[in-house]
């Protein structure tokens, strides 16, 4: 069916004066199960093929996106390519194609009914942990498969595949009138690497331990940012390292190449083949091969992430980061899998470093309360008060505020623990960080 579409659409478009047609195809399969009170509560299945078509018209690049492949819409799509070309100021860039080894077929995973049993066991484990676990409001597992195909009108093509599981657990704990919640997600490419029971128990423990949390007085505190909070902050501020942001004067990292932008203990790596990552891409959406590289090496900014356009403008080689945020748009810039190099200390050892301070385990409102351009953030947070190197009590209804780029320079110590977070538009794995001081607003 796709082959037929490629050839007949190409033929129609050529007749309308559009040349050098190339196609980006995404085939997505999804299976999501959720259990609630020992019943299968939700099941979601999906199978879609999403196509983005580019061509050259009057020397410029035009595009359209298509889901319904019927020929009666061809004229509208051809008009879309022409119009976007006429209004474009970017020249057409042909995809680059490489000879790559054939891919193994992807993991077919577990049948849905077995996943259902595993989820029920995890839910049971969360309830069994503590009588104050009132509801396991979410206990779900998503399996996603994605095939990406780049193809041109001459039949050159390359394909990548990715697949992963995401398990999500949310727990509501209650003690009298006091309610607290916790939500944790974990990812794995192999279902056997997802310890569902452990994840459910960890989530339940977190919710229960937060009961009766209260604010701390407003002031400055030394802080440990727990691994998942570090992931969220990195995901939020990462665009500062994208060359398009830098070139459009929308990044604090502009002009800092080769300079110390973080403490010398900070090393940030992008690795498309990272074991814990989900974005196993061999080439980006412009056909450029991806590669492992340090963005920050021992505190020094060593590269920006480039697509072909920004690389050309900067006079450097593209870094294989020309990914689309959505199939319907042309590639911009995003990373594959990133990780912040872990340190030596366990979380407990980091806690011992603090006489009076905070362990921040949750921040929310990142999309509005953090400004990726300036680096400023002010975020609602939860965690624990540390006294004499130990957890004294849970803390909630506070904000932490600071500047991300300033924090990078102040990282005192790095944990050897890790968590992962993100999406198919960028995936981050990071340890916990010890910081000398953050502004906290509370009582």
């Amino acid at each position: 069916m796709l082959e037929g579409f490629f050839s007949s659409f190409t033929e129609h478009a050529q007749r309308a004066g559009i040349t050098r047609l190339q196609f980006y195809v995404e085939q997505v399969g999804e299976q999501r199960l959720q259990v609630y009170e020992h019943e299968l509560e939700r099941l979601q299945l999906a199978d879609v093929t999403l196509i983005y078509v580019e061509g050259e018209y009057a020397g410029k690049r035009g595009s359209t996106f298509v889901e319904n492949l019927t020929p009666h819409l061809f004229n509208e799509h051809i008009a879309s390519i022409k119009q976007t070309a006429e209004c474009s100021n970017t020249p057409f860039v042909p995809l680059s194609f490489h000879k790559l080894p054939a891919l193994q077929t992807w993991d077919n995973g577990l049948p849905a009914f077995l996943l259902e049993e595993k989820l029920k066991a995890a839910e049971d484990a969360a309830y069994a942990l503590d009588p104050r676990v009132k509801y396991v409001t979410e206990c779900s597992c998503l399996k996603r498969t994605k095939r990406i195909l780049l193809r041109d009108e001459w039949g050159n093509q390359m394909e990548d595949k990715l697949h992963y599981y995401r398990m999500g657990v949310a727990v509501m704990a209650q003690d009298g009138g006091e309610v607290q919640t916790a939500r944790i997600a974990d990812f794995a490419r192999n279902i056997d690497k997802l310890d569902m029971v452990n994840l459910a128990q960890t989530t339940a423990k977190r919710a229960v331990s937060m009961l009766h949390a209260t604010p701390v007085p407003t002031g400055n505190y030394p802080v440990i940012l727990h691994n998942n909070v570090v992931c969220e902050l990195l995901l939020t501020f990462l665009p500062a390292f994208f060359a398009d942001r830098v070139q459009n004067s929308m990044s604090r990292m502009g002009g800092k190449l080769g300079q110390q932008v973080a403490n010398s203990n900070v090393t940030l790596i992008e690795d498309p083949a990272f074991t814990l990552g989900i974005i196993t891409r061999r080439f980006d959406d412009e056909g450029v091969l991806t590669s492992k590289k340090a963005i920050i090496a021992d505190g020094v900014l060593s590269t920006y992430l480039h697509n072909r356009k920004t690389a050309e403008r900067a006079g450097v080689i593209p870094t294989g980061n020309g990914f689309k945020r959505d199939y319907a748009e042309k590639p911009t810039i995003s990373p594959t899998n990133l990780y912040l190099q872990p340190g030596q200390m366990t979380l407990a050892e980091l806690e011992k470093e603090i006489d009076e301070g905070l362990l921040i385990t949750e921040c929310d409102g990142m999309f509005a309360g953090a400004n990726p351009v300036s680096g400023d953030f002010s975020l609602i947070s939860k965690g624990y008060l540390l006294k004499g190197g130990r957890i004294a009590r849970p803390v909630a209804q506070i904000t932490i505020a600071g500047n991300f780029f300033d924090l990078l320079k102040q990282v005192t110590n790095i944990g050897c623990d890790f968590a992962s977070s993100g999406s198919e538009n960028g995936f981050v794995t990071a340890p916990s960080l010890l910081l000398p001081s953050l502004a906290v607003a509370g009582e």
Binding site: L40, L45, A46, T84, C87, N248, G369, A396
Partner: protein, 460 residues
Amino acid sequence: MLSKTTIERILDAATSQGGDFAEVFCEDTFYTNVLALTEGVETSSLGRESGVGIRIFNGLNSLYGYTNDFKEDNLLAMVRQMTALLNKAAGQRSRLCDCISYSGVHPIQQKPVSIPLARKLEKIERALSAGKNYAPEIVQVSVSYVDMEQSVQIANSEGLLAEDARVKTRMHITAFAQNEQGMQTGYFGPGAMRGFEFYDDLDIEWYAREAARIATTMLRAVPCPGGQMPVVIDNGFGGLLFHEACGHSLEASSVAKGTSEFSGKLGERIASPLVTLIDDGSLANEWGSLAIDDEGIPTRKNILIENGILRGYLVDRLNGRRMGMAPTGSARRKNYRFAPQARMTNTYIANGTSTRDEIIANTERGLFVKYINGGSVNPATGEFNFNACESYLIENGKITEPVKGVTLIGKGGNILQQVDMVANNLEIRQGYCYAASGPLYIGAGQPTVRVANMTVGGAR
């Protein structure tokens, strides 16, 4: 779109294989998305998304499948795959009625698909140049232009067959200002449930200059002091405070399992008597409006809180089963790739009797929030956060210096009780809301409102 016969066959298959309710949602949407900077068009994309979502209930179990392969064989195969785990007896269904079309409810004059992209770029260009020319500190302006025309067909096993066309148009303008202290941004995003005629009476230059004015004002803002103080939130999109503080917690997906702070509180006083909260998806040609919701039910005015008393929730069919309540015309989804759930449409606080000037004059020391960025909430605990954009200190009853880095936090139930002044200048503005059934266009509004005490997170 699917033929009536195909829909009948899907509903037959779903109900005979264990569904006690089945629904077919078919969509075909034309989109325009343009991102332009002062240097020119960064990206422009035109195209069409089309697909089918099939939903089957059995009691409180729900199954959802979606695909963009419209072939009947494929759709029936998907139903078989979905129901394989159900293992239940056959349900009942009614034959489909004659199709009801709702596409004339919100009149549209110029459909987006009929307007050449070049004419849309002329409007963008006006915003870019007005913003750029506002002040020398403005180093960049970006305009995100969106329009869409979503045709939907909704049918279910109760015999419903309905069609609707939703046309939306919006321009989101962001200005970037820079000086030695750093970079600040300001934005404004007018939109409506209208076609290209939306621009006939839109003062694009005013909105662009306003975005630029906010960005330059924030350049001279000082870090906000943290702590507790009275907060005055100006009229307009500030209503997002209530969208976060209590709107989400009144959606059935939070309420149904007893996991919202407002579960089981119908008829109780949950807010100050000054608070009346309304969600109305039927407002003519508003950005957050729809003629019918994504379950095919006509939208309507839902009074959620009336003079402080909780009067209702936003309910979809599935959660309505758990709650024993009828749906409220609030079920929404971004597209066929999401199962619908009750979401807000245009949500606002009704007018009070004070004036903005009175409210400010009556505030000894506090914070005045003129524009906001966004926020989020945990419905179980009511803990919300809300990031402000243009804000000022209030000292001795007067607005003084601008402050930046403002995050307001609190618990919904507590904030609702603390509303102690409401003005008479209601205004509804446009934005997006992010939740499980995808990002959706919403309206949020309010008159100027004072909250007696809130925790303000700042860096000073």
